[in-house]
Symmetry: C2
Subunit: 683 residues, 2 copies
């Protein structure tokens, strides 16, 4: 690590920085270099996104196989820019050749809303006469307009306005004091903002008016806690330290840890992207995943009253999980020895900006990895596990999403998401009925029912790119109780269904059969089990999409209709709800439904495929979730099945080991990791 | 803590030990005192179990409400003893009155198999001529009989032998070397052992013989790892220390931590029993659970070939999760500051024996408890969580079960079970087909399909004993897409079904509706949400019981047929598969089915009830699980819903907090828990 640092410093000083890895995100200077080229040809534009146009897979696989003797994939910038009149341009800039290789005006789409786009709205709202008028009606005098706030959301889709004009809806709040939690004081009307002209073009006003909440503030900042008796004083510290540093090495953005190797990318949209994940299996570096990311999400709210149907944020596609990422510069989100990575983006004006410490990489103790005691003599082996977490936290207006990609020593990759932050709220009058569409979490505060549905994109590379997906259901064996073949009725087995086309692979979760999905390489058979090497998706938080078929959310969030989709790999199929999500009507449904409609009969057997998995939770709020929500975790596992010859973590040093013969001879056992001869203590 | 210890030492020296709490397990001297009384009246017996006969609830609630002015419940020993001819006696001994208050000969039952019962079998097997003969047939010469091992299991139920005679089946293995993992060398025949006469009465021999495995050993002990290249050397230490000690207090067996109070009991059967769990809600000590335990489990194997149908261990009811508990005397299973509790049991001869450090109580860091950043100005609060774990680990022959009862600061109680140890294995010939009933995890080693199904017993006390259970399903709202009431199709809500009788409450899991169950007190309404205070069971690992209706497992493990049962509270209904499980035929099905058959129409609404929840996993083995299995976790949550007025953890000191006004004025923010003024660093 020290040598790595020294190398970096030297390179910085001498200007001999190594060429970026083809998977590396664009650097600040690469971003600005792309902007300079575009400016030259197309003049002044607002920049929406400039991100790595990832190397085409065929070319990249060739390069990865032999980087020294093949052509290095070019660095290419994928650009979204906006001109006057909300005109959207999609472009590609080849940075190696310093030229624009694609430049298209794209009609009828709206690219995502950036943080800068969001920040403008509140200022406009506060001085708009129509907004001031509405505030007056519900009890906010115009001299208090500086106490009015808004969370600007994309409009989602509103058929009255279509998608020709770039719009945001302003969810309105009030703060009696600047430090008050505004979600206790939601306002009942919703201005519509034109991002191009920076004007309020319409206000949705409900038929029943709701004066601003008169309840006392409900805060969680230190002064509020002090006023209610102060912080608890009975927590003694737990110190987690790594005096010798971390157990992983960092080579550019490639992390090596416990036989794992992974390239850590990041983009404005998906946040963390993990590429070329391999496992060193006794000297043999075996491919497992070519690419893993959280590709999209949607948070539909369940209140059918207008205009709440518009509340169904695609936090990645409409705002960008990367753009909204917290800077962990203060280092207070994690414990132990942390390695951080920054993230660079383009701003509206075309300069690059950096989120310091956007990605956190650290290890944690993982409790018992394995243990077995022989009941005859108490001979035992017990080994503690370790895990590696690659994480970021993003703030989507009211909510926080903490995303942890976790690598385990036993070959498992886990995705854990913790949900925290604040409920989206709407105003209600005293005594008003929620009609079951929400919960009054505090007087005058209606938190609507909603779902958090995430789509994980898995590009498997199980011992190579030719993979096949099987659905696995636990099923009872044939034969009734009493029959010769199943006399006692206890027969059961794993029923495997091979998906041969994308249309066949559209599938839902089935809890009763403990359904899992195996990504297998049928060309490579485990010599012991005689089954194909595979990784199994084990995911149990898989609610059905509750918005109905044919409805707005169903149309726009096609990926969320089913738990699993499988498609044949295509370089440009990255975004399961489409490339430009805001104001998409869902007619036709972009992304997955479109691809499957077009190529649903193409074979997905023994070929390069992508598995899309939608999971999440249905959230019926309660007062415990307010004013700030205790983290709610959800998790899924990608587990090796028939991939290894045995438990790949057997060589992790045990905390304690004593064999029967050691026990019998009263000789010392294995020395524990703390250096003491534990057997001699024990026997 | 120091004072506590001093008090204990003083009491020990002066002999003025305080009277046990009525929930305390029987002490060694109480056990021996019961034995002395029984011996006087009934002479020589083998003791199977002597455990606390828990105070009757009505009496106990009265005492708990006012311990100083009500009669203290008597200490009563619940006794199971075995006389000659496998005669089973169930008795109660009142220790306060020093008399036997009940003594019954119970016909047609077999109490559980103790560790002592298990230990005998291997010795008998090794010298039995019929066993020696069978060993010879599959290639083990008689001079190698010391290399033959067996895991004795209860016979489960075998209709050929019924339940008049106390039987065990010996699952046979071989160890070329004493330190070899025997599960690589399973033998193909199964002796039946009579526990009363200590003889082999029968041997089940398969029609196809399978010579003992000739594959090399597959071990995980240090010498085996060294022979394959040694332990990995790239793990740097993670130190977890609590220099100021733990954050909980211990008063006898009552633990107080972060507003929680819980009495930690333990018995030979269920292991940890948590009683009288309350939460101090701003000075108001509110009841949540009267009693929580893992009450039963069953592990059915899915191979229908005789005699594998007998492999369906009830590890708690047939062996005892307490009896099989590991001593953690070496302290190497957990990190940080640990408080241990011992466990005392009776042995066969009637003396008391103690497992040192049977229960581990410790805290762990729990990551982000809550966080919110205001996207306008990066004002933020981030607070780390802490959890309290009360755990034990038990070894059920080949498998290890690590049971963690986890208390969270947000009011959540979590049950986590980690499964590790070694697969149960059976022999197979080279090239033999598993027929899908198992996996060849190593040459010659067939690991059969199986399920691990646990039954958690929840005796809720949600603000008092009068509780009601509701099934909660996420459902789409009425009205088709386009209708006035649901124009965009996005309406959805929590559909609640009240269970009014035990028969109605028999219910399965439904993943598609994200089904949960609420234990509510309908007499107490949350003033904000206007909904009853409740705790919600959130459990996602809920496979269907795969053995078929009417079959052996289905009959014997009635509790496992459904995810949830609810019964009206009865003092004697503790064991959902019955009090004496081994050799029960399941005709009629003991425990839950019997109780519901008898009292299924009694109201369970707004009364004292018990909820029984069956959860677990279906396990299709793979080579990665062998020779010792990486821990597989499963978990469930009991979460407060409408129980608190707000997030009850708001007063946990934050790692970092900065309000908008602090940010704006560039003044210092809240001092972080590490003492630095972080705001001034940040702004
Ligand atoms: Co939510
Ligand atoms: Co298992």
């Amino acid at each position: 690590m020290v040598l790595d640092r020294l190398k970096q410093v030297t390179q910085h000083v001498t200007g001999t920085a190594p060429r970026p890895h083809p998977f590396d995100p664009l650097s600040g200077s690469e971003i600005e270099s792309a902007v300079a080229l575009i400016r030259q040809e197309h003049g002044s534009l607002h920049y929406n996104a400039i991100t790595l146009w990832e190397p085409r897979k065929a070319e990249m696989l060739t390069w990865l196989a032999d980087p020294n003797h093949t052509v290095r994939p070019h660095r290419v910038a994928d650009v979204v820019a906006i001109g006057r009149g909300s005109k959207v341009y999609d472009g590609l800039v080849d940075l190696d050749e310093q030229k624009i290789v694609r430049w298209e005006f794209t009609e009828g789409v709206q690219p995502l809303i950036t943080m800068e786009d969001l920040q403008i709205v509140e200022h406009v709202v506060r001085v708009d006469p129509k907004v001031i008028e509405q505030c007056g009606i519900i009890g906010i005098p115009k001299e208090d307009m500086h106490k009015v706030y808004c969370d600007p959301w994309t409009i989602g889709f509103d058929e009255r306005f279509g998608n020709k004009v770039r719009l945001q809806q302003a969810l309105m709040y009030y703060r009696p004091h600047v430090d008050d939690n505004q979600y206790t004081f939601p306002l009942d009307f919703t201005p519509i903002f034109n991002s191009d002209t920076q004007e309020i073009i319409h206000i949705d006003v409900p038929s029943i008016r709701r004066p601003v909440n008169q309840a006392p503030a409900n805060n969680y900042h230190p002064a509020a806690i002090e006023a209610e008796g102060g912080y608890r004083k009975d927590l003694k510290p737990i110190n987690i330290t790594q005096p010798e540093g971390v157990s992983f090495t960092v080579d550019g953005r490639i992390i090596r840890w416990q036989n794992w190797k992974v390239h850590v990318g990041f983009n404005y949209r998906e946040g963390i992207v993990l590429n070329n994940i391999t496992y060193n299996d006794k000297g043999n570096e075996r491919g497992i995943f070519y690419r893993l990311s959280l590709a999209e999400m949607v948070v539909p709210y369940g209140n059918p009253e207008h205009p709440h149907q518009r509340k169904h944020a695609f936090d990645l596609g409409e705002y960008g999980g990367g753009y909204m990422t917290n800077s962990l510069a203060l280092g207070c989100d994690c414990k132990g020895a942390i390695h951080y990575m920054d993230a660079s983006f383009v701003n509206r004006a075309g300069s690059s900006e950096t989120i310091k410490n956007a990605i956190c990489i650290h290890e944690e103790d993982a409790g018992i990895l394995f243990k077995h005691t022989d009941f005859r003599d108490d001979s035992v082996v017990v080994t503690r596990g370790r895990k590696l977490l690659i994480s970021h936290v993003f703030t989507a207006a009211n909510y926080e999403y903490c995303v942890y990609w976790i690598f385990h020593q036993d070959g498992t990759v886990q995705l854990e998401i913790k949900l925290t932050g604040i409920l989206n709220t709407y105003s209600m009058n005293p005594g008003e009925d929620t009609h079951g569409w929400g919960t009054e979490v505090y007087p005058g505060v209606n938190a609507h029912n909603h779902q958090h549905l995430f789509c994980m994109r898995v590009d498997p590379n199980i011992d190579g790119p030719l993979n096949t997906v099987f659905q696995v259901d636990a099923k009872t064996g044939p034969g009734e109780v009493g029959s010769a073949e199943n006399k006692y009725g206890n027969a059961f087995y794993a029923h495997k269904t091979k998906y041969t086309t994308a249309k066949e692979a559209v599938s839902d979760y089935d809890g009763s059969t403990s359904r899992t999905w195996e990504m297998a390489n049928t060309n490579k058979i485990n010599p012991y089990s005689h089954k194909p090497v595979s990784y199994k998706l084990v995911s149990r938080e898989v609610p059905a999409l509750l918005p109905k078929e044919g409805g707005l959310v169903w149309k726009r969030a096609g990926f969320a209709r089913h738990a699993v989709h499988v498609t044949k790999y295509e370089d440009d199929q990255i975004h399961p709800a489409g490339r430009h999500v805001p104001q998409s009507s869902g007619e036709p449904s972009a992304g997955l439904p479109e691809w499957i409609e077009k190529h649903g009969d193409t074979s997905i057997e023994n070929t390069d495929i992508v598995l899309w998995h939608t999971f999440g939770i249905t959230h019926f709020p309660s007062p415990e979730d307010y004013p700030v929500m205790p983290a709610e975790p959800m998790t899924l596992l990608l587990r090796p099945r028939n991939f290894f010859l045995k438990n790949p973590a057997l060589d992790v040093p045990p905390s304690y080991a004593l064999t029967p013969s050691q026990k019998a001879t009263l000789l010392g056992g294995f020395k524990g990791t703390d250096g003491t001869d534990k057997a001699s203590v024990r026997v």
